[in-house]
Amino acid sequence: MDRECSQLLPSVCAVLADSRQLVADDTFLEKFLDWFKTLTETESSLLLLQENPCLTELITCVLKLKDPSSSTLSFILRLTGIFAASESCFQYLQQRELLISLFGEVGPLSSALWEEASVRSGWVQGVHSMVQHQSALHFLCNCGAIDVIFTLQGDPSLFVASAANQLLVHMLTFSLQSFQTKLVNIKDCDWPVCAQKLIVHIEESLKSNSASRIKQSLKLLTSMFGCCHDLWTEVLWSQLSERIVYLLEEKPVHAWHSLVDLFLSMARSPVFSCPECSLWTSVTCALEHLNPAQVGRLAVGVLKLQECPQAVRIQALSVLLQPMDCVLKAASQPLEYPGLLNRSVNDSATVETLLSCRSSCASLLCQTLAHLEELQYLTYLPVDLPYIPLLQSVVTILQFCIGLATPASCLGNKISRILIGCFRVQRSALDILGALSHRESHSVFMGSVSDILLAYLKSPDTSPTVLKKSFQATLKWLVRLSEAPSSRDHWQQTEQFLRDLFLVLQKRLCSPYWEVRDSALEFLTLLVKHLREKDGFRQVLFSSEVPKLMEDLLEDPESYVRASAVTAMGQLSLLTQLISKMPGIENGNGKEKSIVAQLQEILSTDSEGFPRRAVISVFIDWLKEGHPDVLKDTEQFVSSVLQAVNSDLDWEVKAGGLELAEVFSAQTLGRLGLAACPYAAVSSSATRSTHLSESLQIFCRVKLFEFLFGALCDCDRPVAQKACDILITLKAELCEESSLREGTRAGLSTEAHGIAWLEETLRRWSSCAEPCPRGNADGAGSQDPNGVLLVLRTVDLEGLHGSLNRSSDHIEKSPQSLLQDILATVGTLEDNEADCY
């Protein structure tokens, strides 16, 4: 602790100990505790207490207070816990009987303030901090604190209950830490006293009839097995497993949620990974006894495990597939799909009951679909998924949802009635339908997937969110199909699908709902981006009305739609340029020019930020990808864009402009052989100098520096940061040789200047229409390369970089400031209260 803080600390402690002086803002107390936590990690806690006796006095004083505030008492409990974490400090505090007064039966435990959740929470946290040595454990065992913690497990405040549970986990793992080596044949009688006490408590809770006690113990075990992977956990499990299995066999299983959590937590522990471990017997039992709605999470968790007996995996997969199998069988399907399961793992009546009930059907299907989708993204799935029947069952669900499936049974009728118009299930099913595209199969797509996707895309009843999912799924399938090697026939069939799709898109782009127009444009953007190399796609696209409609939407009244139209047109324009390079295909080149102009107009005039941001992103893409219209006169293009962005008030547009500037400068320097390519041939210094000068002139012509320096002065920190980064890079390139020489020649000092000076210079630049005499930085215009170079060299970019990277409150974060703030706020409360009158 530094001297200033040591001097302030007694006054602060005096304030805190004074019950009349309320601290207005208790976040100070949290910061205060954080500070002490940091201090005790780096300094000796005992020394800290000894050098600052005011701290011990503070604890004593608060204990003596007749009516301390709950926040102060909670603070003291936590502060004492932090100090008591050090064994020497613990002894120090115990000698003064402070610990027993705070954490023993006579302390806050027996006071009226114990009713306050904050006090109980402070007590638990204090104890938690303290338990870092055996002395603390002994102390807690002896003073009856453990029973208090057991009670707090069921505290009405969830925060306190959870903290108590975490504390017990900590105590258990801590007390058994040192028993590692003796563990091979440990019997329950060998547990240390404290651990023994806790284990007995867990066992008794599990055997009790109280559902809440059972859940608390299961939660405790879940946390414990999750964080502790020591060998003794296996011994503990062997002691408890029988009871856990008993809980599983109860009807109904009340604690199924907690049991699933427990098994998942244990299954991830390397201690239980051995195939012979009894855990797998319990997991198998859970997969059998719990219904699919309860056990889905466990099943998917099991399938994600690296180490797991194959039989358990197969059973877990069957659990997930069972509802899908039921759905498939509930609809009349062609005979080639026999079903998803060879045998029924569970009682299929349970699944059928769940599926035929309105309240459980949709949630079971959504959950199952989400779990199965999760499996699709695993890099390695250790079991064989019946891909085709699964896909068919997903398609069947989607058919049920829009009344296209023909029920084959009474269950089918019920499912049909429940699912028709159910958006939740539609969304989940479309998600997995998209995910299943990774196993692309043209015949499957043309067989049923394309039909159902078109049905959803066409249906006027498809909600905007479902439509978006339909677009996403369609895109995934089309991208996959376009990447796959396929026969000519296959692609021709896909083209037919594309033709149907574009008819739908035409209509969707004219929709009165902006969400629909927006989704359609987003979909088109991605479609053009991914499929632009496909001849057939381009032909279908340009033979449709879609490009014209996309262009019309640049004037949409809704800004989101305009933004999406800008992005879509950006992609389309790149595609049109691609076609123009191909022999025999004509495109409206004149029209393209107007697109550039249209986008520039949006950038300069659109009143909403979204379309302008979209334009700048498109321009960046065009510049990066070498859009021919940009390449025709890149300087003019960049200059006009920077000019428009310079006067924009939206920081994201500015940041986009900076990215454009960065790309442009890198391209310019690269084109002239100045790029930082390690393998580039080293050019002679004279050539390099010429190139540098050339680049500089280009930058000056497009007013790059005026823009960058302007952005450096911007009040939005991300803009200034980005500008600073770019300027530092440019400075490194442009000033490394020439700066000294030029600077010396101009006879200017190289004293670093700050923002104020820069702002003044920029003002002069803007008022200076003509370039000023060379070498005079103060009077030079932005188009004078030397003047610009001098400014670049003179501004303290590194200093600015440092200050911009610091957060705005870095000064206020110091402990000294914190202590001063506590002192400053004391007493203001009364004033504020007076103000209220």
């Binding site: 009344g403 023909t406 006027p460 009305e545």
Partner: protein, 677 residues
């Protein structure tokens, strides 16, 4: 004579009036015509006109159509040409070349002159009114709301105008002969009751029919002959549309016809008043249960914009009132965003002007949002602004001003949705050849494929966006759960999935007990019995009653009174004082309404506690009392006296051997335990 104030009518003594009979005169579930016989009143519920019959006829073109006039006559398979003047063939379909005719409600099932009142639900369900009021000897009253009458009049006038302005010399009747009809191809072969099909009524008939209407307001209670009370409730479907409550003191029948829970222009549906119905008659559900109106409006707008952007014209065959108001409102919001500001919208109907103006003045019948606009003051519908800014123009017909103003591409709203008459026929002929144009069907009353049949081959695009805001089956299910009627009665079409989608079991009424269904020309005895009748008691008679409390809270009193029944109202009046016959004259004959009153015996009530009764008997000297329990009570045996007392719940018999003294003694002992009043 004495009677309780509420009379339980046992099955044995059931009067015919206690049954509720329902006669179904129309097979069309959304154009109903039912008759309810309830408490001696005969009430007709709606008189919808099934116009789908017109689809069998050739369109009536406004100007000579070379295409239609050149259609070949239909020749029988054997080459017989006797029908070729009446029937024409077009693209494989056969049409009657005659003035279109309509299928009337059933007139033979019951004598329609006996109908006391007709209750109208909405303007679409009154189109057969002139046929009923002017042809059947009807002398009753018709009840309807003002917007229903006014807009109904517009619809009728438009219909008459459409047909009368294109006089057709020919009237085909040969094909109606049953023997001939059998030889015709479908659908003519299967058309029902063609012999009863009638030509359209005339304007005087419309006026005469409408003059019989008495205007009513929502929640207004109308007494019918003192027997029943009828009340219209807002149904949320159209301007002034109503559901009806028909109730007596102890029975309530709800008639739900053409209702909507969507927020469109009319006042919201009143659901709460439908609660506690004994019977709920449910008609007029959506005709297209799979088409969600919101989605359809979206489709309508998208297709309209696509067509116009491509330089095509859009034709919307529609009625002059109803959904068109909502469509114009949607377009008002949409045209600017879709870049259609410069595209003219034309509304052509002989009643276009009246319809647009009427809609703005019926403020009290509009939804809440539109009502509040009136107080601003602003016109409730934005079509006023469309008219002001010249975006929407309306004309009585294509002749006259319209031909001068007509600019393409444009959007035309015009009738009739059947495409058989009205200005729409002209536009079909005009635009049908170009694939740039689109006809968008929004009215759900006619099959669009049938409507288009006489225009084939057709190049123009056809889009089917039926907008039917009436209740769908999900909404019905919620409504029934909410209002909980004891019985639901509905057309048979609603009790099974649509024939084309037999797997959609969600598209039918699902309620418990299952709904009773009916079909055309069927008489249904409704499944509830009237059990009670309310009888009023005169104050002076009530004063004379002396109630006796038999159980806490339950008192009884005997009443001697005269039951007076007039206008279906029953009143208990004090009995006339017994008059002493004049000594000198012969006793007068007692008149019917003043029956002779005899002195009354007290009524007995209570039960006899056996133990105490035995003790009492023993006290009075009967020593050998034996009690036997029987199924209905007890038998007390007095062996010595050879007497038996049979005590049952509702009777007591003393059986002794001609010993009257003993019987009287025993009777008095029994009576001691009973209360008298």
């Amino acid at each position: 004579m004495g009677r309780q104030s509420t009379l339980p009518w046992g099955a044995a003594g059931e009067s015919p009036a206690s049954l509720l009979l329902k006669y179904c005169l129309s097979g069309h579930p959304t154009l109903p015509c039912n008759v309810l016989k309830f408490k001696s009143t005969t009430i007709m519920l709606d008189c919808g006109l099934d116009m789908t019959s017109t689809l069998n006829f050739l369109p009536l073109p406004l100007v000579q159509s070379p295409r239609l006039s050149k259609l070949p006559g239909w020749v029988l398979k054997d080459g017989n040409t006797f029908l070729d003047k009446e029937l024409k063939e077009c693209s494989g379909h056969v049409f009657v070349d005659s003035v279109p005719e309509f299928c009337l409600p059933e007139t033979e099932l019951l004598d329609l002159s006996t109908v006391d009142v007709i209750l109208i639900s909405n303007y679409h369900c009154m189109m057969a009114l002139p046929y009923i009021t002017e042809y059947t000897g009807f002398t009753g009253t018709v009840y309807a709301t003002e917007p229903t009458v006014q807009i109904g009049r517009l619809l009728m006038e438009e219909l008459v105008n459409f047909i009368e302005r294109v006089p057709k010399a020919q009237s085909a009747s040969l094909w109606k002969n049953k023997e001939v009809q059998r030889l015709l191809p479908a659908p003519l072969k299967d058309a029902v009751e063609v012999s009863t099909w009638r030509r359209c009524y005339t304007v005087p008939e419309v006026n005469a029919a409408l003059s019989k209407i008495q205007l009513v307001g929502y929640s207004q209670k109308i007494e019918l002959f003192g027997a029943v009370q009828v009340t219209p409730l807002s149904s949320g479907y159209a301007l002034g549309s109503s559901n009806w409550i028909i109730q007596s003191h102890y029975e309530k029948v709800s008639y739900v016809s053409g209702s909507s829970l969507l927020t469109t222009h009319p006042q919201a549906m009143d659901q709460a008043s439908l609660k506690n119905s004994d019977v709920l008659i449910l008609t007029g559900l959506t005709q297209i249960p799979t088409a969600n109106p919101d989605g359809m409006v979206g489709e309508f707008c998208s297709n309209l914009a696509m067509t116009v952007r491509n330089g095509g014209n859009v034709l919307v065959p529609c009625y002059p009132s109803g959904v068109i108001y909502d469509l114009l409102e949607c377009l008002y919001q949409y045209i600017d965003s879709a870049g259609l500001s410069n595209v003219p919208f034309y509304f052509i109907s002989p009643v276009a002007n009246s319809s647009l103006e009427f809609s703005q003045i019926f403020a009290e019948w509009l939804c809440h949002n539109k009502q509040t606009k009136v107080y601003l003051p602003e016109p409730p519908f934005p079509h006023a602004e469309l008219i002001q800014t010249n975006k929407l123009k309306h004309y009585p017909s294509i002749h006259g001003d319209f031909s001068n103003d007509f600019k393409q591409p444009c959007v035309v709203f015009t009738g009739h949705p059947s495409l058989r008459f009205g200005d729409v026929v002209h536009f079909m002929e005009l635009w049908g050849k170009s694939s740039l144009n689109t006809v968008i069907f929004t009215e759900p009353d006619f099959s669009y494929l049938d409507a288009l049949a006489p225009y084939q081959p057709l190049a123009m695009k056809c889009v089917y966006c039926p907008i039917d805001t009436r209740l769908n089956f999900i909404q019905v299910s919620k409504l029934l759960k909410e209002v909980q009627p004891l019985h639901v009665v509905c057309p048979e079409q609603y009790t099974q999935p649509p024939p084309t989608q037999s797997h959609r079991t969600d598209l039918m009424i699902d309620c418990q007990p299952p709904a009773m269904s009916y079909r055309r020309a069927e008489v249904l005895t409704l499944p509830f019995r009237r059990r009670y009748e309310k009888i009023e008691i005169m104050p002076e008679l009530a004063d004379s009653l002396v109630p006796l409390e038999i159980k806490p809270g339950i008192s009884l009193a005997t009443v001697s009174a005269v039951l007076h029944t007039k206008d279906n109202k029953h009143v208990l009046q004090p009995p006339p004082k017994p008059t002493q016959p004049p000594a000198s004259k012969k006793r007068k004959r007692v008149s019917d309404d003043a029956p002779e009153c005899k002195p009354l015996k007290p009524l007995l009530s209570g039960s006899i506690p056996m133990d105490q009764f035995v003790q009492t008997l023993e006290k009075h000297g009967f020593s050998d009392v034996k009690v036997e329990d029987t199924a209905k009570g007890h038998i007390v045996l007095l062996q010595e006296a050879e007497t038996l007392i049979q005590i049952e719940e509702d009777s007591t018999h003393i059986i002794c051997d001609n010993d009257e003294t003993l019987r009287v003694k025993l009777r008095d002992l029994v009576l001691k335990f009973l209360q008298k009043f």
